[in-house]
Amino acid sequence: MGLWRYAARRLVQIAGLFYVILTVLFIVFRLAPGDPVERMVDPSMDPEDAEVLMAQLGLDRPVGVQYLYYLKNFVSGDMGISFHYGEPVAEIIADRLPNTVLLFTSSTILAAVVGVLLGKRASWSKGRSTDTVLTFSALATHTVFLPWLALLLIWLFAYRLGWFPITGMVSEDVWLDPGATWWTRAVDVAHHMVLPLASLFLIQFGTFLLVMRSSMLETLKEDYILTARAKGLPERVIRNHHAAPNAALPVLTTIGLSLAFSINGGAITETVFTWPGIGRELVLAVSQNDYPLAQASFLLIAAVVLLANLVVDLLYAVLDPRIRY
């Protein structure tokens, strides 16, 4: 089937792109002034000690050799050892990734579902007050400055009202309690997740709503909608069965395209809420010159984005019968 051939071809392309990103990243990190060792030393250490440290971190080799080692290790799944944790980067990432996935997928799914449903509703009542309210609130949440919003949420719901924990992902009370069941622990995590989820959701759902709305309005102008109406079908069937599936396709593309944007937002959200995820780890690693960790986190994000776009394209092909590769 052509779809698989297409997928395979795209995968090869993605591998190529990924290699380019990998190399560019390596070069950028090596070109950068500043070495990670200087932050680990204090005045009681001699310069020679710093050199020893450099050598032990593998930073004394020629850049070309470092690059080859880097590639070799990468292929064998070894992404190096974090300068600061002293742990394999792969393990740190494996430790943080589930947290990010949990936060990110749930917010994206929630935002997509709510955004699409409300977008459908808004377009259906175009020009009426429902539409105006929905559209405007989507615009407002879509353009609000995320860290600011997150801080306001913390201030209001966590501090003033005390409904939610201020930051973090678990509360020690629950996790230290030997009698806690998995359910109470899950509820505890959910409780911590509400605010970060809310901020990510708020900035994402606007996008979905707006795209769904305009896509739906476009679709409603199509002849087949007129046909459906002429067929005497109820409005609900026309909306849900004829218009929405066609209108939802551009939304799918939006998920792919807005992923980069959401990841930015994700990193900010994780940082503000101290959510122990990849985004926060990347920001920290970057500011502490933890090369291996920063590189690997970014590569992971890049890989996820590239693959997600592939998945979106394939999904598109599956959902839209017109597209055949």
Partner: protein, 570 residues
């Protein structure tokens, strides 16, 4: 509300949200658990790697050194050692008797552990400790409780720094050390070792580390100090454990403190919060001095800072009081010498100062006078014929060349907004005099490389957050031997007399004599201004009232071993 929710078909969310809300509100299992907020997570608990502040703080509660400092007098006192080491000037040896102490598994802390620690540091050249051990030529253990250190020569830092090294349990590390020896990069292997359990000789022992969330330490019932009187204090610990919670941002931690989620925030509180916290009846603030140095450094290797007159003029222009009052909101102390004022033992009381107490205009006049005497000229002098201060323009060197623009490198705002801002303010003062200076914030690592490795800079603002109490850093900072890439003499200060004093001080065991030398060194530095010390921020820490009592104030704050040993639940 239900109607609205129903309309968007998310009514099923309501019970879930309520369930989530239902768990709100703090509850506590162990009433005597001290909850401490940390701004960030310790990256590692490998004592040989630990370079971050957080790792060090946690490890200090478990691995103990031979000597510690008395919290009040700051004198060295025996800790794991039973009494102060005995020095033999003939053989250049120190003999240390160990106290009766046990690891948390019940096995004794022996001379073997001490020797093991020293030997591993020397063999692997563990960067964090090696410079303090390289002059130890041999370590003997005549019996289980006695250690004899052979030194290559008299070293002033042996007691204060070498013996401050935490002692590591040999049996826990032997296997990792042996494995590391066989590797291509032994040190790297050692530093990447991850201890599964941590044997502790200190007041607490690690119970659980939930990555990204908290570290849970419980009381070590086998702690040697338990019930003992050391430095006039009867030690505990009296609390069941310490829970270290990671917050990531100060805001969150302070909100948590106000809400009562944590009992203490183990980190200096920014001035902006202080007023608010002072009003909070549940919060108690502690102000402590820090052993810190915030300073402006000059590159003496090239103009304009190769001229001592110019450095003095800059020192005159910089109004430290203004920086402290405005940028630090008063939470700091002016520094006239490189040694922090809180370090009473070593801080020189009478260094030369510049423009102290003068107002803005007078400072400009004084600096103008200094520079004019040194032969500098202006297109528009900053002080006009009538003696009024105006905006100066176009300063020229004594040989008539115009001064080229130069930059003050500062850390970036994300790293330390106050230093970045100080740079901007100082830039303004210099420009008023017609000096073409501009502040440039730079990524921290890049800044260090520029200043320390490449030595390609004009001036910079850097800081040491916690300087060791031993003033040996004076030698590191200004000895001409250290004027090399990666060396600590970043200014490129060369003064044979200073070098001689520094060397003498390093090998002087007698404290009185050493103090005399160290003061003399500080006077020279104040005279020549290779560094311009700016301020020493006051450390303000906050705890909740009514939960625990017995915090011990010392240089560097209340979050210290003594506090955690003495705290009692109220």
């Amino acid at each position: 509300m239900a109607a609205i929710l129903g309309r968007v078909r998310f009514a099923w969310l309501v019970p879930m949200v309520l369930a989530v809300l239902g768990t709100a509100g703090p509850s506590s299992h162990a009433a005597d658990l001290l909850k401490v907020g940390l701004p960030d997570e310790p990256k590692t608990l490998n004592v040989f790697r630990a370079s971050g502040r957080w790792s060090g703080r946690v490890l200090a509660l478990m691995y103990q050194p031979l000597l510690v400092r008395d919290p009040e007098t700051l004198e060295l006192i025996p800790w794991l050692a039973a009494e102060m080491p005995v020095y033999d000037p003939e053989a250049v040896t120190y003999t240390v008797r160990l106290r009766e102490a046990n690891w948390s598994d019940g096995s004794p802390v022996t001379a073997g552990d001490v020797a093991f620690t020293g030997r591993v540091i020397r063999e692997f050249k563990v960067p964090k400790y090696y410079s303090k051990w390289k002059f130890v030529t041999r370590i003997d253990t005549p019996d289980d409780r006695t250690v004899v250190f052979h030194l290559s020569g008299p070293k002033a830092v042996f007691l204060s720094r070498t013996l401050a090294t935490p002692i590591v349990p040999a049996k826990e590390w032997t296997r990792a050390v042996e494995a590391a020896r066989k590797k291509e990069k032994p040190l790297r292997s050692l530093m990447n070792h991850r201890p599964k359990t941590l044997l502790s000789s200190g007041p607490f022992v690690l119970k659980e580390w939930r990555k990204g969330a908290y570290l849970y330490l419980v009381r070590n019932d086998r702690f040697f100090g338990r019930g003992q009187e050391i430095a006039g204090r009867t030690l505990g610990p009296h609390i069941d454990g310490i829970l270290l919670k990671f917050f990531g941002t100060s805001d969150a931690a302070i909100l948590a403190l106000k809400k009562g989620t944590i009992d203490m925030f183990w980190w200096g509180i920014q001035p902006g919060y202080i007023e608010d916290l002072e009003r909070d009846p549940n919060i108690q603030l502690y102000r402590c001095e820090r052993s810190a140095l915030y300073y402006m450094g000059f590159n003496l290797r090239k103009p304009p800072f190769d001229d001592v007159a110019f450095r003095r003029a800059v020192a005159t222009l910089v109004d430290k009081q203004f920086i402290i009052r405005r940028i630090l909101q008063g939470m700091g102390e002016e520094m006239d010498t490189v040694v922090p004022p809180g370090n009473q033992l070593w801080c020189c009381p009478d260094p030369r100062t510049y423009g102290k107490g003068l107002g803005r205009a007078d400072r400009v006049r004084a600096a103008y006078r200094l520079l004019k005497e040194a032969g500098y000229s202006w297109d528009v002098p900053p002080v006009n014929d009538r003696g009024e201060v105006v905006k100066g323009r176009g300063i020229r060197y004594p040989d008539g060349r115009p001064m080229q623009p130069w930059t003050i490198l500062t850390p970036p705002t994300d790293y330390d907004p106050l230093r970045a801002m100080s740079g901007t303010i100082i830039q303004g003062w210099l420009q008023d005099l017609g000096i073409p200076a501009s502040a440039r914030p730079m990524a921290f690592s890049a800044l260090l490389q520029q200043v320390k490795t490449r030595r390609d800079f004009d001036a910079f603002i850097l800081a040491y957050g916690s300087l060791s109490l031993d003033p040996d850093y004076l030698r590191s900072f200004f000895h001409s031997d250290n004027d090399k890439p990666r060396g600590w003499n970043m200014s490129g200060y060369v003064n044979p007399e200073y070098d001689r004093l520094a060397e003498a001080a390093a090998s002087t065991i007698d404290t009185q004599e050493r103090r005399r030398l160290v003061w003399q060194m500080q006077r020279i530095v104040a005279e020549d201004v290779p560094y311009l010390p700016l301020y020493n921020p006051t450390l303000v820490e906050a705890v909740r009232k009514g939960r625990f009592g017995g915090w011990v104030k010392t240089l560097g704050g209340i979050g210290n071993l003594w506090s955690f040993c003495e705290l009692k639940p109220l």
